[in-house]
Symmetry: C2
Subunit: 159 residues, 2 copies
DNA sequence: ACGCATTTGCTGCGTCGCGCAGCAGAATAG
DNA sequence: CTATTCTGCTGCGCGACGCAGCAAATGCGT
């Protein structure tokens, strides 16, 4: 049963999502340029500072989508810049725990907080129900994307 | 006046946004891998197929965030792959119009449509008001990001 | 207890996307 | 008609990344 009104809303949302995501890529690039880092490094710092516990190199590789070798190089860069420190894991001596250095990462999080404050003004004229709806949509889209990625990997190659 | 309930919603939304955006990067990477392209090329194809009129190399450069030289190389790759065609602009003979080739880009859009269909099921149990709220939030975030990028450019270098 | 497979992180090596600087041609200002 | 600006293209070098292979550590098997 086609509902033209709803269909139009879907279309609009799809279009705005694409613009929103494209804008994020440019934004992340601008943040990286500002800090003198690479977009991937900023992404990794975002992951590290968001998580309460330190991540291993393997976890960083999985969450950024690159190989363990490239993740090692990434941690090398961050360590050289003083953003993170390597710590051996006593439970599993193969693993290396990557912990952010607060003094150095403070600059990055301060920048995010500053930008985030302006960004929060957008939320001020949304009702609480609307905020919950937005949050819910993003969480579910996030979950779905993982299964979609898995689907893509098992799909036949078009080439 | 601090509203702890609202503050908590803001916090949740900020967290989910980061996860959502991180997931998109991985998703875009997976699509690129599946098609045998680079993430930037997929992003450019997304821009080209979304717009009703062809884009110039300069416009592609601006919207992807790379230089005109790199944009030229990007169009080279897409042209070599048969995804786009170059057409001279008669009004301004400096410009080169980049038009997508339907037969070739159909594979890409078909993949997006397929993935989008599953994605739409997420929207089915949102009310129309909620959909409008989500769309509005994304549009405003998109607009704000541009001014934020401009701010970052004019901000003093932390290095 | 002892192999055997798996996992983790690191390292040469080659590829290639990208920014930078400079270029000619076209359009516009003055 | 000259000067400036804008377009897109091209060498050049850098460096992030994937790949393959490595040793060390862990877990599983009998």
């Amino acid at each position: 049963m086609p509902d033209p009104d709803r269909a139009r809303l879907y279309e609009e949302l799809a279009l705005e999502s694409r613009r929103y995501l494209a804008a994020y890529v440019l934004f992340n690039q601008a943040v990286a340029d500002h800090l003198g880092l690479h977009p991937t490094d900023v992404q990794a710092l975002s992951l590290l500072t968001a998580e309460p516990e330190p991540l291993t190199v393997r976890q960083i590789a999985d969450r950024t989508g690159l190989t363990t070798g490239s993740a090692t190089r990434l941690v090398d860069r961050l360590e050289r810049g003083g953003y993170v420190a390597r710590t051996p894991d006593r439970q599993d001596r193969r693993r290396v725990l990557v912990t952010p250095v607060p003094e150095r990462t403070a600059r990055v999080t301060a920048l995010w907080d500053d930008l985030g404050r302006t960004w929060q003004t957008l939320l001020d004229d949304h009702s609480e129900d609307e905020l919950r709806a937005i949050t819910r949509h993003m969480r579910r889209a996030h979950d779905l994307s993982h299964t979609q990625i898995e689907r893509l990997r098992t799909m036949p190659e078009p080439d």
